[in-house]
Symmetry: C2
Subunit: 356 residues, 2 copies
Amino acid sequence: MTMIATVLGAGYMGSAITFPLIDAGLEVRLWGTWLDDDIIEQCRHGDHPKLKKRLPVKVRLFDSGELEMAVADADIVFSAVTSEGFVAVLERYLAIGNGNTPAQRSNMYETPVLCALTKGFVRFDGRVCRISEAAEEIYREKCGILKGIQWVSVGGPVKAVELSHKVQTATVYASAFRGARDIVPLFATEYYKICTSEDVCGVELSSALKNVYSIAVGICDGMYRACCPGLYHNFKALVFNQALREMALVVEKRGGDRETVFDLAGVGDLYVTSASGRNGRFGELVGKGVPPGEAYQSMKSRGEFAEGYNTLKMGYEFARDLGIEAVRSLPLFEALYDIVFRGTGCADTMERIVRS
Amino acid sequence: MTMIATVLGAGYMGSAITFPLIDAGLEVRLWGTWLDDDIIEQCRHGDHPKLKKRLPVKVRLFDSGELEMAVADADIVFSAVTSEGFVAVLERYLAIGNGNTPAQRSNMYETPVLCALTKGFVRFDGRVCRISEAAEEIYREKCGILKGIQWVSVGGPVKAVELSHKVQTATVYASAFRGARDIVPLFATEYYKICTSEDVCGVELSSALKNVYSIAVGICDGMYRACCPGLYHNFKALVFNQALREMALVVEKRGGDRETVFDLAGVGDLYVTSASGRNGRFGELVGKGVPPGEAYQSMKSRGEFAEGYNTLKMGYEFARDLGIEAVRSLPLFEALYDIVFRGTGCADTMERIVRS
């Protein structure tokens, strides 16, 4: 029996993940949110407008009004929307069951496996929390029981465009459920290597925080790449290293495994995002002297959404709620917050971390 | 009383370290080996020929015949020669004491502190070993006792040219001796941040192995940067991440702390060396299809010495002696060895690690 995977969200990553899923032999459905109707329409006749590439022909496309059809009997559901859209989409998905658990809708497994490609924090019930924490609350509210959720957090250095071109890629799927960990290796292909982990907290926090810290690496590029290309690698490496130290501190404080930070979801993803990602580019603009709010808006108006901007804002609350005294324990995070939201100058603020 | 630091070796790093040492208020002497006499001579009248920059005027210069004067009463001795020259220089240094411990020659401390900036493996007594292991043996032979050595291994992301331009830099000094760990922070300046560690083994192995693994990152650049610049970051991050996994495995197996790999001496130094270093450039040539031996020689003939080439060869023996079954536990290391010394093709060999 063919496994059915439904992907919620037809942006970069949601569309890119259909390539390995098809190649792994799954039945794949791609549902576009109310913001994606144009994308779905274009994909019916030509290239995906963001990936600039046709999706695999076997992918079945669903527009925003067809959610119920898209998830019917799905064994695996991928959330591939942004963190900003996550709660709204999950609530809409769960509303379909009319209060029943989604369990009853899977053909093959007791409950459908929910794989979150979404990275970041969400604001829920008046506080900033990890995505899976919000999801658990929502499940409890909508379904009455927690049993319906087989949560998997997906992390690692995966640029969507490259995945769609079948570049050799490694990723990590983290779940507390052994059943889920047994299923996810079935999505692997020759170019899509899947590692599994039990550390949902570590993978989620690493995935969120690397978006923040890649801004810092980008700021180094912005400040120095043009003026002194051969003379800032020591400083950039110091910043990269400090980012990992701080990520490990937050993960450990939150009950995750600090080793997770030093593998695909942390160092791997920070490496790729810093070198070639929207958050790195946002940081680069800031490092060049563009006011942060302006840099963010101008990128957004071109469809380039630097998620780290909001993750930085929410992460600041998250860290404060953890009781980590940011100034002392997370000097780079604090420096970033000062630069992006308090308007302090890049050079002085970044160099503070050398003295920390 | 002013602390006296003698630096052995007037190449890139030996000369660069004189900048923070002078700024930290030490009396600094720079001794050139028998290969460095030209450098010392040029420094007397103008720029250091490699750094393209004048050394601080207060640095006292000594040519190869003046070793005894250079180390007289030194409190700190830096070894800044290559791993290939390390044993010969250390033996010559110790021969000065005529079998007495160098202890008697320090003004301020019981024994002079020996800080090794040298990175790599050495062949000693018929086997491949860490630099400090060779040093201990040599001390025991020459001085009869081990007490004379207060060993410090220095690591971290420090490009010499950048240090000489006083770019913000962080480094780690590892020593088993509390006394030495108490002294080294005195070398810190506003731009030279010093962290201390007790994990000599981890810092030494990280420093050696990052030269090997940065070749792998360079190979990715060579294979793909020109042909598909936006389509190999996932693979490069996978390789970078695998490098860290393997470094941690070797360090742990050898009795070091795997966390050391995930800080300045490991990930920090791998990051900087991959982005901008001779080993990365060597890898890039290999990735472009230049036969490895030819790439190594042509760089060497231009004075660009890719140390990772020999470290790869010796590291292979080192790993084998550890009993790590390389093919299974260190697939990236094995792939590198195959490419560089067995002439296998880059693409097929590198992609093996995805399937490992």
